[in-house]
């Protein structure tokens, strides 16, 4: 009997998904809610289901049917909440241990460690409260779009690491190339046009418009990576405890008032 009930749930879920046209990101042109599902309150999701006369109307607390259709067979545990809860628990435990190095103080006169410690305990408890019920509850498999995630995050990291050395134009172009690889629709020509347009707009807005302090062209020859470290080490004043990135900024001539500003902050912080 129980198995029957589960099948029934699967069917009606599938119906809900069909009705709302949530499909694979690639091959469905009626893709209402493909993006917003993650951002939309589940109340609204559930009202949507209700409107289409499907099952699963009144759950304000759980949100299913986010992803593609083929993976709708239920797993024995709700992995979303199980993993999520464990992660929360892990962070909470980490905070508790890390906060030990700070003085807790008393309730009247709290030390710097009191509040974070309390947050750590709260997180651990909430993590357990999320994870334990999820273990005994049916759920759907998790779907991750690794490709998009890696390309987008990768392009951001690349951009951050190369902006000062490769200069705005080159670095932007390459970052756009990386991130635009996540789209399978773009042709080679389209991609080239896109790169040129974005680089041009960036230059006009940020350099001409907002006069941002950034090297536009590469500050080092691409083969001579050694010279970066050399420049950085030369930028260090005697006895100065400045960080690498600070010195790098100075080495490449980025904003003196910013440097002093940043430097004084670091020093204040160090006291």
């Amino acid at each position: 009997m129980k198995g029957c009930a589960i099948v029934c749930v699967v069917r009606s879920r599938r119906k809900a998904v069909d009705a709302r046209g949530i499909g694979n990101a690639e091959d469905n042109n009626n893709e209402i809610l493909e993006r917003p599902l993650n951002t939309m309150p589940s109340h609204i999701r559930s009202i949507q289901c209700r409107e289409r006369g499907s099952y699963r109307a009144s759950s304000p607390c759980r949100s299913h049917d986010t992803h593609g259709m083929e993976g709708l067979d239920l797993t024995t545990t709700d992995h979303h909440d199980l993993i999520g809860g464990m992660l929360i628990l892990a962070i909470g435990v980490f905070i508790i241990f890390y906060a030990q190095r700070y003085d807790t103080g008393t309730l009247t006169n709290m030390g710097p460690g009191y509040f974070p410690l309390a947050m750590g305990f709260l997180m651990s408890i909430f993590g357990l409260m999320v994870a334990i019920p999820a273990f005994f509850r049916a759920g759907e498999p998790i779907r991750v779009n690794w490709r998009n995630c890696l390309l987008v995050i990768g392009s951001l990291v690349f951009y951050a690491l190369t902006l000062r050395t490769l200069g705005l134009l080159l670095s932007t172009a390459m970052a756009v190339l990386i991130s635009s690889a996540a789209s399978r629709v773009l042709t080679l020509k389209g991609r080239a046009v896109l790169v040129v347009c974005i680089v041009a707009v960036t230059y006009v807005v940020f350099i001409l418009g907002l006069s941002m302090r950034l090297p536009v062209l590469p500050t080092v020859s691409l083969t001579g990576t050694m010279s970066i470290t050399k420049l950085i080490s030369e930028a260090r004043l005697p006895g100065e405890p400045a960080s690498e990135s600070l010195l790098a900024g100075r080495a490449f001539g980025i904003g003196d008032e910013w440097l002093t500003d940043c430097y004084s902050q670091t020093c204040e912080g160090g006291k």
């Binding site: 917003p36 309150p41 009202i47 929360i88 890390y98 987008v152 912080g269």
Partner: protein
């Protein structure tokens, strides 16, 4: 009548060309990003925050608010035409708006939503103008204990009402509060959780956090969406007029939606999305033909649309009068104010009434501009939907990165964006709503210092939160919210099990 005079003075001041210019820029950008699915008001406002440094405070806030309002006006366009909500608070507009478009009445729907948005916003703004000063006066009597309880209420409300399960929401709030404690402790000067990274001594850059969690994860989630199918219908001015019966029914719906929206917007933790959902439920309940909902019933469009606009106005009430933001967008607004050296709170309205009324005047003008922008230009906004997302998102990523860089000229902050982008995507995979996290991050430090102060005053006696009547009331509401949401979750599960 003094407040009316002050309002006119504020309106006059907001007529300055500089204010008008930034106001127009704000509402234009806001409508644009509202129309385009895949870019939200949160990401855009955090993108514009660094730009606002170079602008005087009042125009800066008016510009940012314009973005928020514009997104509320524009978001329904893609809901109606493509069945794809432009912003989360317009998801409900799909239900009856898109069927109307299918019946060839898209122009009517678009015109009427603009009217509903404008009416809702104007009434909401009225509440903002006339209730904030009195709320601020009450706020002046608050001590640290009251503030702590109020912030707690805001966080609890945000996690129980926004979405998903209460415990998941609460854990996000607490995580946000923890992230807020990273950096130098203001009370003792001790560096906390900086992991020996000098850049973390000042704490995590709020803009980087917001853009990562909302902007980047949104991009990852939607970057291979196909371009929307073109709206087929030509939208002309003549085809916009509703039928007489529709116009009559809309008035009632707008009134109900506005009341619902104004009330929910002013409460901490609620905001436009919840307001529009509740307004839809209310319309359906009060309608004589609930079975027609979902097939292009105009009340189902008018109620929610006026509600989310009213809520976006009244959500400024707690932010401006008490200094406690009710949702993530308001948290950004508060950050913008603080960056400009203005501490939002009861003292703001008492000490700087000119500034407050200038803001109100600016908000008023933004809404007039939006009305003007939206009605004749509906066709233009609709055609923007043809821009495919795969052209937009690489540009969005670059703008996010450079926007964050420009705050501190720091590439470290760009890496923070990438890190929180990955985290935001992880949260969306695991179906955690990150909005409470942002609110927790902003309120965390404030909450900690108020907690410390309250306990210092009471000599370590936690009963201070219960002995003071206002604080006690707020605490009881908090507790009631938690109990209610747990109870309704259990009930929902029971009824689902019964159905299965």
């Amino acid at each position: 009548m003094t407040s009316l005079e002050a309002l006119f003075a504020g309106l006059g001041a907001a007529m300055a060309p500089e204010v008008l210019m930034y106001c127009f820029f704000g509402v234009f950008v806001g409508t644009l990003i509202g129309v385009l699915p895949g870019i939200g008001a949160l990401a855009t406002i955090s993108l514009l925050l660094p730009v606002s440094y170079h602008i005087p405070p009042a125009p800066a806030i008016i510009m940012l608010a314009g973005v928020y309002y514009g997104a509320q006006y524009g978001g329904s366009t893609s809901s109606i035409l493509l069945n794809l909500p432009g912003t989360p608070s317009h998801a409900v507009a799909c239900l009856d708006g898109h069927p109307m478009a299918k019946q060839g009445r898209a122009a009517v729907a678009l015109f009427m939503t603009t009217i509903a948005s404008f009416s809702g916003a104007m009434i909401g703004l009225f509440f903002l103008a006339f209730f904030s000063p009195s709320i601020a006066e009450i706020g002046l009597t608050f001590g640290a204990a009251e503030y702590f309880s109020l912030m707690l209420l805001g966080l609890v409300a945000a996690s129980t009402m926004t979405s998903g399960s209460t415990v998941k929401g609460l854990s996000m709030v607490v995580f946000g509060v923890f992230l807020g404690t990273i950096g130098t402790d203001v009370n003792t000067g001790v560096h906390r959780f900086h992991f020996d990274v000098p850049e973390l001594l000042d704490g995590i850059n709020f803009i980087a956090l917001a853009m990562g969690v909302f902007g980047v994860s949104e991009v990852i989630n939607s970057c291979n969406r196909k371009p929307g199918s073109e709206p087929k219908e030509r939208i002309s001015f003549g085809s916009m007029m509703p039928t007489r019966s529709e116009a009559r029914r809309s008035v009632g719906a707008i009134m109900r939606g506005t009341s619902m929206g104004s009330l929910l917007g002013a409460l901490p933790g609620a905001g436009p999305s919840i307001a529009s959902f509740m307004a839809y439920a209310l319309e359906k309940k009060t309608s004589k033909h609930p079975e027609k909902f979902g097939h292009g019933e105009i009340e189902g469009l008018m109620g929610p649309e006026s509600a989310n606009n009213a809520a976006s106005q009244t959500s400024f009430i707690p932010t401006l009068s008490l200094g406690i933001p009710g949702d993530a967008v308001m948290a950004l607004m508060m950050t913008a104010l603080i960056i400009h050296g203005i501490q939002p709170g009861p003292m703001l309205i008492v000490m700087q009434p000119d500034l407050f009324w200038l803001l109100v005047g600016g908000f008023f003008i933004s809404n007039i501009m939006l009305l003007v922008l939206n009605i004749p230009l509906i066709g233009l906004w609709a055609s923007i939907l043809r821009i495919p997302y795969h052209v937009l998102y690489p540009a969005i990523l670059i703008f996010i990165s450079l926007g964050v860089y420009s705050v501190n000229n720091s590439t470290f902050d760009m890496l923070v964006v990438a890190l929180f982008g990955a985290m935001g995507y992880l949260l969306s995979i695991l179906r955690f709503d990150p909005t409470p996290l942002l609110l927790g991050f902003v309120l965390g430090a404030l909450m900690e210092s108020n907690l410390r102060r309250a306990l210092l005053i009471s000599r370590g006696d936690p009963m201070t939160f219960i002995e003071r009547p206002i604080s006690l009331t707020i605490m009881i509401i908090c507790l009631a919210l938690i109990v209610y949401s747990m109870f309704s979750a259990i009930r929902a599960r029971r009824s689902r099990d019964a159905a299965a």
